[in-house]
């Protein structure tokens, strides 16, 4: 990974059929998921609680083992990297969690928390490190005089800013934000979204932005991927997704999030089934129990991942969906 540069046309991160399971493979958390994140772009990953979003994030950081599939970062499989190579990759991929306390130790001052990743990856001389720390602090909108404060002296929003500063101080290529704005007030959420957009424009960092809030995704994502019970049901460029969502589950999510439409009445048991994934028959569509458009074929065979073709193809990136309503011969007129 020494001098390898990403070709602009190649994705920065590419997942190919990633599968993850827990409890000796009795619980499949992620089931053959493929998607890619382009350099400097934001991919929004949405899905209900338990859909497997965080498991995907943890696999990218190699915090959990994959059962199968590949995670290519700049073309190299993260799960096959040797320790030195992995160390280099880990410096280029950072994460921000929902709870800032997961990235910030209560016993460390802001300065210590921000210096730690630089020391860990042996970046720069001590003076350079302290200069970088001061600069990044300013970038996230905090003054130098907080350097010697401890986390409990800050509000949640400020702590999240510090957590973001810590993730950015090594100048990563990719930041995974796992529900990073979900527990914040709308006002603080707006400030953090503003901050992420500014940082992205300034440093060209790519984001894998995990959220269950579609309006937040709309605000910052270039592309959208939807997960449901471990599977990726749809991936599309944001403009395509929000104007022409293809999968019935995506359409449900959008109508739930939209204020202009009356909310559909949900079937409680389906939505609350906490361990539905273990009951899922591999020979059916994973969403068939909840789908309003279910057909006989949906209970008999699992839909393959297909790409929707557009007449005006060069206008868009690829739009992939797993649903029997679509097949390879579909051409969208728009």
């Amino acid at each position: 990974m020494t001098s390898q540069r990403t070709h602009p046309a190649h994705p920065l991160l590419e997942l190919r059929n990633l599968s993850i399971s827990f409890r000796d493979r009795r619980q499949i958390a992620v089931d053959r998921v493929s998607f890619s994140v382009l350099k400097g772009q934001t991919l929004g990953l949405v899905g209900a609680s338990g859909a497997g979003k965080s498991s995907v994030a943890r696999a990218i950081l190699r915090l959990v083992q994959a059962d199968g599939g590949e995670i290519l970062f700049k073309g190299e499989d993260i799960h096959r990297m040797k320790s030195q190579q992995l160390m280099a990759a880990r410096q280029r991929i950072q994460i921000v969690f929902q709870e800032p306390s997961r990235s910030l130790s209560p016993k460390r001052t802001v300065a210590e928390s921000l210096l730690e990743p630089l020391q860990h990856f042996a970046i720069g001389s001590p003076t350079e490190r302290s200069r970088k720390v001061k600069k990044i602090l300013l970038t996230v909108g905090l003054d130098h005089d907080v350097l010697h404060h401890y986390p409990h002296q800050f509000s949640t929003g400020q702590k999240q800013r510090i957590a973001i500063a810590r993730a950015l101080v090594t100048k990563p290529d990719l930041v995974i934000a796992d529900e990073a704005v979900s527990s914040l007030d709308v006002s603080v959420q707006a400030q953090i979204l503003q901050l992420i957009q500014t940082l992205q424009a300034e440093y060209g960092i790519a984001f894998l932005f995990i959220s269950h809030d579609l309006a937040v995704i709309r605000q910052i994502a270039d592309g959208v991927a939807v997960m449901y019970r471990g599977q990726l049901l749809e991936q599309a460029p944001a403009d395509t997704f929000f104007s022409q969502p293809a999968h019935p589950y995506s359409r449900l999510l959008l109508s739930l999030a939209s204020l202009d439409e009356p909310s559909p009445v949900l079937n409680h048991q389906q939505q609350l089934n906490p361990d539905g994934i273990t009951n899922h028959r591999p020979s059916a569509c994973v969403y068939s129990a909840g789908c309003a458009e279910v057909m006989p074929v949906c209970g008999q065979s699992e839909p393959a991942r297909i790409e929707i073709k557009y007449k005006n193809q060069n206008m868009r990136g690829s739009h992939c969906v797993r649903c029997h309503l679509y097949d390879e011969t579909n051409i969208n007129e728009t």
Partner: protein, 323 residues
């Protein structure tokens, strides 16, 4: 006819500190009619949960003092009740659903045991009758197999299921008033929607008056008849949700609305955040507390607090409201 089930009159809450008392709630007044929902919004730390606790008369810390001109529940002043009378009222006539169901539920008892204990405490005797009422309450919030849920321990349920069980527990005595403090925070949209739909059903069934506390303005917009906007312990604006969303008058309401990401077919312009942050309650700016963050502030705002003024069903406390 609309009758106010709950009427909060000039509620004040202060806490002692080494440099004198600090005002946590400052002259909060509102009422809720039977079968209606009033939403309470504002940034975290602005006093939403404190309002709920002060209404119930349960104070989370020592050194806190409540003063009010009355908290009327169906015409009866809660502040005039003695300890035993209050215990009877809480849980039966007025009950609460908390933000964190995990902390409100006891991990060592099954949900059935916990709900049955509430039923028993409020006058239903006999094991069978208690169990029957308990199972009905679980069924009413949408569980098709209430026995299964009743036999489960809190940790065996997902966050959404725990929250629904909490609602079952809070409504099992058919209270006249239900206070729900962030009942859907941290849940995904479909679970959120289901919980709100169940609250709505219970409300229709029992004519419950609901105080819905949330920082999620979209939820408030969908569920409420009236919205109260709170900042630093004061109510700044109150009106119906449509007027508030289409035409906010208070600059703080307008600021909050501007923070909501919009779901549109085309990519929205960069979001417009309110600058600065909520001041510490120990260090409130004089005059209008919002003045340091307000771009409409004038000199007067920095030394005098604006009084709430009502016009056409809308109350606004601001010297220079939005046109």
């Amino acid at each position: 006819m609309n009758t106010a089930v709950l009427e909060v009159r000039d509620l004040n809450l202060s806490i002692d500190s080494s440099n004198g008392p600090h005002q946590l709630l400052d002259g909060v007044s509102f009422s809720i009619n039977a079968g209606e929902t009033t939403g309470l919004v504002g940034e975290s730390g602005c006093g939403k949960s404190m309002t709920a606790l002060a209404i119930l008369g349960v104070l989370p810390a020592t050194g806190m003092t409540i003063r009010s001109a009355g908290i009327m529940l169906n015409g009866e002043d809660l502040t005039a009740l003695n300890h035993a009378q209050r215990r009877r009222v809480l849980g039966q006539d007025i009950s609460m659903v908390f933000q964190q169901p995990a902390t409100a539920l006891d991990p060592v008892f099954t949900l059935g045991q916990q709900i049955a204990a509430t039923v028993h405490r409020h006058g239903i005797s006999g094991r069978k009758a208690c169990r029957q009422t308990m199972l009905e309450s679980l069924e009413l919030v949408g569980f098709s197999q209430p026995e299964k849920i009743a036999a489960a321990y809190p940790h065996e349920l997902s966050g959404g299921m725990r929250q629904l069980s909490m609602i079952a527990m809070a409504t099992v005595c058919k209270p006249a008033v239900l206070i729900a403090d962030e009942p859907t925070t941290a849940l995904d949209v479909s679970t959120q929607l289901m919980i709100l739909q169940q609250l709505k059903r219970l409300q229709t069934e029992y004519k419950t008056a609901i105080l819905l506390i949330s920082h999620d303005l979209n939820i408030i917009r969908q569920c409420c008849h009236t919205v109260l906007v709170m900042y630093c312990g004061r109510l700044l604006e109150s009106t119906d949700p449509e007027s508030l969303f289409s035409h906010p008058r208070h600059p703080y309401s307008a600021g909050l609305l501007g923070c909501i990401p919009k779901l549109s077919a085309t990519r929205p312009p960069p979001i417009n955040a309110i600058a600065g942050q909520v001041p510490a309650l120990t260090d409130l700016p004089p005059g209008c507390h919002f003045a340091p963050r307000c771009d409409r502030a004038i000199a007067q705002c920095r030394h005098t607090a604006p009084e709430p003024e009502s016009d056409n069903g809308r109350t606004v406390a601001c010297f220079r409201p939005m046109p």
